[in-house]
């Protein structure tokens, strides 16, 4: 398996109190990871650090074999790391414009941008809401638009923070279907969640955060295991 994201010597403190100490974490292409842990264990913080949104002390960070500074990821690398908040933020514009946002930054021509965004919305089952103001959508709909907004940029890594939290049964089922499709592609999917159904999915690598340390299975923590 090819390592897509490697992080070594990660330490994060809040007000001098250490909250995360992760000697090694390796995320491999085509693998899905489920990150569990109690509330406040640092799941969201870890995802935000990996997305380059939260400063942390990191000794080594490599993305697709290239050594980089995690706090100063170039825009072209950040685009390859799709991060979706627990409660995704929708820009105050149409649903279509939200999905087009990242493509616009890349300078994708208008016609192509619109086509790709429509395709992504169709994938998420949200095509009929393309012209609707995104901030008016329900929580589940916003979550699906956020997944489409991330997917349209073809990221190599998806970091999903509690994607099914606070969703009703139907919204949760639809979001789970989309995540399953992302995981089936040759991408890295790391999901922070409490959702037992997701934690117990076959084929996922289970990671658990406790007292700031990561415990888990498989090669993800190979240095921890002495590998």
């Amino acid at each position: 398996m090819v390592a897509v994201m490697e992080i070594g010597g990660l330490a994060k403190s809040w007000g001098g109190r250490p909250v995360l100490r992760i000697p090694q974490l390796v995320l491999e292409a085509g693998s899905s990871y489920v990150l569990s842990g109690d509330n406040g264990a640092g799941k969201s913080t870890l995802l935000r650090i990996l997305a380059g949104l939260e400063p942390a002390k990191v000794e080594r960070f490599a993305f697709e074999g290239k050594l980089l500074q995690l706090g100063r990821l170039p825009a072209e690398v950040r685009r390859l790391i799709g991060f979706v908040h627990q409660h995704p933020y929708m820009f105050n514009r149409s649903t279509l414009a939200n999905v087009e946002y990242g493509l616009r930054l890349q300078g994708v021509p208008r016609h192509e941008r619109s086509r790709l965004a429509h395709d992504a919305l169709t994938w998420a089952g949200m095509a009929e809401f393309a012209g609707a103001p995104a901030q008016r959508l329900s929580g589940g709909e916003q979550q699906r638009v956020a997944l489409a907004r991330a997917k349209v940029l073809s990221p190599h890594v998806y970091l999903l923070d509690e994607p099914t939290a606070n969703l009703d049964a139907d919204g949760r089922r639809r979001v789970l279907e989309l995540i399953a499709q992302l995981a089936a592609a040759d991408k890295v999917v790391l999901i922070a969640c409490h959702d037992l159904e997701m934690i117990n999915l076959p084929g996922v690598v289970r990671l658990h955060l406790e007292n700031g340390s990561l415990e888990g299975e498989g090669p993800a923590l190979r240095a921890l295991a002495g590998g």
């Binding site: 935000r48 997305a51 380059g52 949104l53 825009a75 072209e76 950040r78 685009r79 790391i81 799709g82 991060f83 908040h85 409660h87 995704p88 933020y89 820009f91 105050n92 946002y101 990242g102 930054l105 890349q106 103001p133 901030q135 008016r136 907004r149 991330a150 940029l153």
Partner: protein, 234 residues
């Protein structure tokens, strides 16, 4: 001349297109809009940086910006006068008693107003807006612009507030403009002069224009705030 005659004469001046009166109005509008255009981008950028970038002394700077909102305009005028006077450090520029000096003064007055309101608007913005933009590939500048766009109604309100403050200020314009007819005489300085001469008609006419301008700015402000409020309520 009694109040009725004065008002009648004021209306006559307004509706006859009196060139002196409308020239004064034009100076006011030109100077204030120019000051707003020149100070606006810098002040909005400063407001955003103060709310978003952590650096030593930021808290002190925030307090200073907020305090300078109510800095007396006549003191701004005095300080600028000292800088621009022939013996002052900027005397060589020969800007004293000119429209550029008035623009400079109004820029100094409006800067903290715009910066403080932008700061407040960005602090009230959802932090996920910046993060979402950044995670979708936006650089710092683009993510900042996206965040400002998300709070555009509050930023526009700040611009209207700033315009309202400078278009009616008299202290600084009088000090560095010198109230020169046809050159630096604007609405507030003209009203003060005409009243001191006992010529009330032009003062009343200009006062009406100022009130209409102030009302216009406030109506625009209310409209902008109303629109923003409606959007937030979704």
């Amino acid at each position: 001349m009694d109040l009725l005659d004065t008002t009648r004469e004021a209306f006559r001046l307004l509706f006859s297109g009196d060139p002196t009166l409308w020239g004064i109005v034009w100076v006011s509008i030109k100077v204030s809009i120019l000051a707003l255009i020149l100070a606006g981008p810098l002040a909005v950028a400063a407001g955003f940086s103060l709310s978003h970038v952590v650096f030593p002394g930021r808290r002190l700077l925030v307090i200073l910006v907020q305090a300078f909102q109510s800095f007396p305009t006549v003191v701004v005028g005095l300080l600028l006068y000292l800088l621009l006077s022939r013996q002052g450090p900027l005397g060589a520029l020969q800007l004293l008693f000119s429209q550029p000096a008035m623009v400079l003064g109004q820029m100094i007055i409006v800067f903290p107003v715009l910066a403080a309101y932008t700061l407040s608007a960005v602090q009230g913005a959802d932090p996920r807006a910046y993060e979402t933009a950044a995670s979708l590939g936006a650089g710092r500048m683009r993510a900042a612009m996206t965040t400002l766009w998300e709070v555009r109604f509050a930023v526009m309100a700040a611009l209207f507030m700033g315009l309202g403050r400078i278009i009616s200020e008299i202290g600084c314009s009088l000090m560095v403009g010198g109230n020169i007819a046809g050159l630096t005489r604007n609405i507030p300085t003209a009203i003060a002069l005409e009243t001191s001469k006992g010529e009330f008609a032009q003062g009343v006419a200009l006062g009406m224009v100022l009130i209409v301008l102030a009302l216009g700015v406030n109506v625009a402000l209310a409209a902008v705030q109303g629109q923003g409020g409606m959007r937030r309520a979704w």
